[in-house]
Symmetry: C2
Subunit: 468 residues, 2 copies
């Protein structure tokens, strides 16, 4: 993070860091569009009523008040106040319902925007950050193949970030029906509660989870053990998954005709389809992992988390799932499946741990020198000609000594300095034609602003990995 950022939890980047963020956004957006996802942007606010659907007042939300409302703001019911969105799924739901008549379904949309969490200020937690989401929302039905394809699009997007120093991403998939079905089959009833605790496995470890399941969710020791054994199943092989699940069921005496078992089998079938077809399309990208639970209660089918090789500290940087009941309008349902990349956290990792940064601070490839203020016009014209051919060009801020102008270029990382022909012989030297100097290599040669091109390697700002 840019040092000295004064507002805790609101990250702000230096120019050479912001460039990495911009390139990441451009890169994932490009992958989304290659797959036919349509970009939308929703406003930053939602009503308190939408943000707090289902009465989740524990949510970390920022509410707004107009300056003129101060002192009376608490009089307005929270449901009628505006608040900043905390994710891009709630806004998507509203957008789809509002514009359903003007959208084509299934609606494949990408959305990359900042979201806000009104958390207590604490070290390392972002209160403002970017999310990059893709979702497909159907009109009353949504084919299962999107549950196979969406995580693969995300893998492709993350793989494109290899050149910014990101290691391989693997999507871990589970299915709510499998978990819920199994929990019911072994006699548990507080399904949401159990899922919430299992979701903490990586953070607090099995012993703590056991304790919570027993103390807060009425699980006996056998049930607790069963939950943890289910969570232990990780495999890329559908047959292995089926046989281990059935073995687990048998060892706990699960009745194969029970509703729970039937539900679990539906989930199991979907997971098997996903890992089987993924292996086909993008080998090694997706793995079944029965401990994936996801805290959010609106998921009804597949749930995904994504981990980066060699970066366990990063946690899941791309999560999501299928939600059949989140969006509805009258009798009509809009089932969806989507995943969201936590871009700011990913950026923070790439800038910090990986050491990614822009190859230079300025987009300019060339700084046109100015012999003296009366010939600034000549320098401006040269810059104009270069720009008209797509070459980013800056002009020296002042007609200082040439050494000082070169230093300005060097500080900004601008690789070339352009010397206009000095027809007035201002410099005492005999400079009859323009010339350009690569201040990295020291090479200098005559140049014409209507035809000169920078060497490819110096033409654009790029990302470099600068591990210290």
């Amino acid at each position: 993070m840019a040092k000295g950022a004064s507002i805790s939890g609101f990250p702000e980047w230096l120019p050479e860091q912001r460039m990495v963020e911009q390139k990441i956004i451009d890169t994932v957006k490009r992958v989304f569009e290659l797959h036919g996802f349509i970009g939308i942007e929703t406003c930053a606010v939602e009503t308190g009523a939408s943000l707090l659907k289902k009465g989740e007042t524990s949510k970390e939300i920022y509410l707004l008040s107009r300056l003129q409302e101060v002192r009376h703001e608490s009089d307005i019911p929270i449901s009628e106040r505006l608040g900043l969105h905390f994710d891009l799924t709630v806004p998507l739901s509203r957008y789809v319902v509002e514009h359903s008549g003007q959208l084509t379904f299934p609606f494949k949309r990408w959305q990359i925007q900042k979201v806000w969490r009104g958390e207590r200020p604490q070290g390392g937690r972002f209160r403002e950050f970017y999310q990059a989401d893709i979702d497909v929302v159907g009109n009353n039905n949504l084919p299962e193949h999107y549950e196979v394809e969406l995580p693969l699009v995300m893998c492709e997007a993350l793989d494109e970030l290899h050149r910014f120093g990101l290691s391989k991403a693997t999507v871990h998939v589970n299915n709510r029906k499998l978990s819920e079905g199994f929990y019911r089959a072994i006699g548990l009833t507080d399904i949401e509660g159990v899922l919430r605790e299992v979701d903490k496995l990586d953070k607090i470890g099995p012993d703590e989870v056991k304790k919570l399941l027993t103390e807060d969710h009425g699980a006996n020791e056998k049930q607790t053990e069963a939950c943890l054994r289910l969570a232990d199943i990780v495999t890329t092989d559908p047959n292995n998954l089926r046989s281990r699940f059935d073995a687990l069921c048998d060892s706990y005496g699960v009745d194969h005709t029970s509703e729970g078992y039937t539900l679990a089998q539906q989930g199991l079938n979907t997971i098997c389809t996903i890992i089987q077809q993924s292996a086909h399309i993008r080998p090694g990208a997706v793995i079944a992992d029965c401990k994936i639970a996801r805290g959010l209660d609106y998921y009804t089918g597949s749930v995904y988390e994504t981990f980066i090789d060699g970066a366990p500290e990063l946690g899941s940087i791309c999560s999501g799932g299928r939600y059949d009941n989140l969006v509805s309008k009258g009798n009509r349902k809009y089932p969806g499946v989507g995943l969201s990349i936590g871009l700011s956290r990913l950026l923070s990792y790439l800038l910090g741990t990986v050491g990614a940064k822009a190859s230079r601070q300025s987009p300019a490839s060339v700084l046109v020198a100015v012999w003296n203020e009366s010939t600034r016009d000549t320098s401006n014209r040269i810059a104009s000609r270069l720009r008209s051919r797509g070459i980013c060009a800056d002009v020296a801020p002042q007609a200082n000594k040439i050494g000082k102008q070169i230093k300005y270029a060097s500080k900004l990382g601008i690789p070339y300095v352009w010397f206009p022909a000095d027809s007035d012989n201002e410099t005492g030297s005999d400079v009859a034609v323009d010339s350009v100097k690569n201040i990295v290599t020291g090479e200098q040669s005559p140049a014409d602003s209507v035809s000169w091109l920078p060497d490819t390697v110096y033409a654009q700002q790029t990302i470099v990995i600068n591990k210290e």
Copy 2:
């Protein structure tokens, strides 16, 4: 605006409208970078103390409170609360001061972000909108040539929007020193007050302004008339400007040795430099207009407003000026000059009055058809090959009848439908090789996914002007 947008003042666009916004952003950003401006992004919030500098509690600001703070939020002093930024200049000031050690000066930055105004909800006023800003900030000094160049960069950016249907932009320039010097020279003292009223000329007309000047700012009839006569001067000719100004001064008996006259002359010199040099670099782009006042009190030199030919209802869509005292740290000052495009208002005009929209809703050029779900894999592979060559490709959502698949493409504006070779002869027809159909022209021909390219005209989403 997308119909039915539920939150008043927070515009939201349909996909084919959002695309226009995205293209506008990309276009102006490109121009900024060609000129060597460096992109930054600041967080959405500032402290109440920064937002309300100089105690302007009349500002239309949104303050934030965490959900947990509701009922106690008004106990926190406003200066310590967080609020959403209402422009990009206040955040820039803070950014420059915080990171001055890591920036290269003069610091040329572009910034395109949303800003928020906590206005009373009322028809047509945006409470959330995009601004596109460029500023150059110097370290203790800032050469005058930036006051010539920045409005020209904005003209270039706006001219690039011609292809989205925008007419020619003209920057109107004035100088605070000219106005202030003249007002002082004729004996007025409430300079900020007078500027604020003169700024309303276009909105409320000369009679109302006269009334306000007389009633609220202690101007007599002669002074009021002088203010309006100064505001009448509009010219592209420096000599004309000088002679009209001097004639005006003479007719009001202004003493040429007075401090006011001297200050006015400084301003006049700057305006003359600007219109003279602009005429050279970009003829017809900049005009001197002595009624330009700008409401904001931090401007100290040049002030700019920009109008679009044939769109007076739009008002100024790109404004700014020079500010010498806005940013400081200890004894060090950071004088700046900058302009800001009101992007959302411009977009709203282009979508509404001009009728700009995306040529199609989907970024995809091709929809790959699916004969039946068991061969979806084949269709996916074709799409993959197209994407690997940069062609945006979608795959039919369901293996419906081909007519229904074509209809899906057509609704999304996808111009090509790809028919995989039907080796299983599913269709009863003998389709031995892939073929692709342009559903706009009806043309169909055999195609190979490793080499086929869409016709240029159908390759990308573009902007079309669709005046109804």
